[in-house]
Symmetry: C2
Subunit: 206 residues, 2 copies
C-alpha cells in the first residue's frame, strides 16, 4: 500500500468536503471523484470517519508548519498577524462553513483533534506573538498576554457556536474574520493600529 495513494484519497476527499461539507458527501462520490473503486479506498481507510480524522490531523499539521513559517519570514508581529489574517481569509473563501458545523456535530473524534490542537499549540503561539509584540512596541504593554491568548482561542469556538451565532442568521466565516480583526486592533498600540489601517487601505484600493 502506497503513501502516495493514501494522500491522494485525502486530497480528493478534501476537495469534495470543502465544497459541499462533510456530511453530505458519500464514499461513492469520493471514489467516483478519484476514479478509484471503493474497495481500494477501504484498503487505506476504515470508513468515512477515518478519512475525516486523518484529514483534520493533516490540515492541523500543515497549519502548524505554516504558522511557524510565517513567524520566521515576518520582520515583526504586525506583518505576522496580517499574513495570518490573509491566510484565514483565503481559507474561508475556499471552504464552505458547513464543514465546521458538520465536524462539530457529526465527527467528535476529528473535532477533538481540533480542540486539543487549540489548547496545545494555538494558545502558546498566540501568547508568544503577544509577548514579542510588546517588546517590538506594537502590542500594548498592559495586556495580560496569557489571558488574552486564551480568550482569542475560545473566541474561535464561540463564533462557531450555533446557539450564540445561529448559522441561518450569521455567516460563520464573516464572524470569524470580525473577531480576528477586532482582536488584533484590540491588542495594538497606536503604532500597531496605524499599520493595520494602512494594510486595510491597500486592500480597499485593490
Amino acid at each position: 500500500m502506497s503513501n502516495v495513494q493514501k494522500d491522494r484519497i485525502l486530497e480528493g476527499a478534501e476537495e469534495l468536503f470543502f465544497k459541499a461539507g462533510i456530511r453530505s458527501v458519500t464514499m461513492d462520490e469520493i471514489a467516483r471523484h478519484l476514479g478509484m473503486s471503493k474497495k481500494t479506498i477501504y484498503q487505506y481507510y476504515r470508513d468515512k470517519d477515518d478519512i475525516v480524522s486523518a484529514l483534520v490531523q493533516k490540515k492541523l499539521e500543515e497549519d502548524k508548519e505554516e504558522m511557524c513559517g510565517i513567524g520566521i519570514k515576518s520582520s515583526n508581529v504586525m506583518e505576522e498577524m496580517i499574513t495570518m489574517m490573509k491566510h484565514s481569509e483565503d481559507f474561508f473563501s475556499r471552504v464552505n462553513p458547513i464543514v465546521i458545523h458538520d465536524l462539530q456535530k457529526y465527527y467528535p473524534e476529528a473535532w477533538q483533534f481540533f480542540q486539543r490542537f487549540k489548547a496545545d499549540v494555538v494558545i502558546d503561539s498566540m501568547q508568544d506573538i503577544l509577548d514579542r509584540g510588546i517588546v517590538q512596541g506594537y502590542v500594548r504593554e498592559d495586556i495580560d498576554t496569557k489571558a488574552m491568548a486564551r480568550m482569542r482561542v475560545w473566541q474561535i469556538e464561540l463564533g462557531f457556536d450555533n446557539s450564540v451565532f445561529p448559522h441561518n442568521e450569521f455567516n460563520s466565516w464573516k464572524v470569524q474574520l470580525q473577531f480576528l480583526e477586532h482582536f488584533i486592533y484590540g491588542i495594538c498600540t497606536a503604532k500597531g493600529h496605524e499599520i493595520l489601517n494602512q494594510y486595510k487601505n491597500i486592500l480597499e484600493h485593490n
Copy 2:
C-alpha cells in the same frame, strides 16, 4: 410589612455577600448583621435563595438605570464607554469575585436572571453604542455591530468560566477588565484609540 424593611434586608445581605461571597454567609449572620430576628426576615423572604434572587434582580435594575444615565450624560460614546469602565473597576474593587462563582454554581434562578438580562438588555444597548460610535467617528465603520455586541456579552461569561480561566490561576475581575479594555480598543478608530490612551495616561499619573 414595609418595603423599607424589605429593602434594608437586601442591603444588609449585599454588604455581607460582597465581602465574603454568597455561599458562606448564613441567615443567622444576615440577621445578626441587621440587628433583626430571623423570624422577621422570613416574613419578607422565603429563604436565602429568595434573598439572592431578589438582590440580583435589584442590582440588574439599578445597573440598567445607571447605564442609561451614563448614556444621557455623556457627550460621546468614548466618554460613555470610559465611564462604564470606571464603574466596572469600582464594582470589582468592592466585590469579592467569589460572588459570581457562587451565583453560577449554587443559585441557578438568580443566575438565570443575569443570563436573561444579558440577552435582553446588554446586547441591544451595546449594539446601540457601537452604532452611535460609528456615526461619531470613534468606532470603526467596518464593524458588524450586531456580531460584536453579541461577542462582547458572551465574553463576559467566558471570563467567568472556571474551565477556561481557573479561579486559582486567574483573578476573575482582572480578566474581565482585560476583556473590557481590549474590547474597546478593538472597536476604536485611531481617533478613539487616542482618547482611550489619554484617559489611561491620566489614570497612571493619579
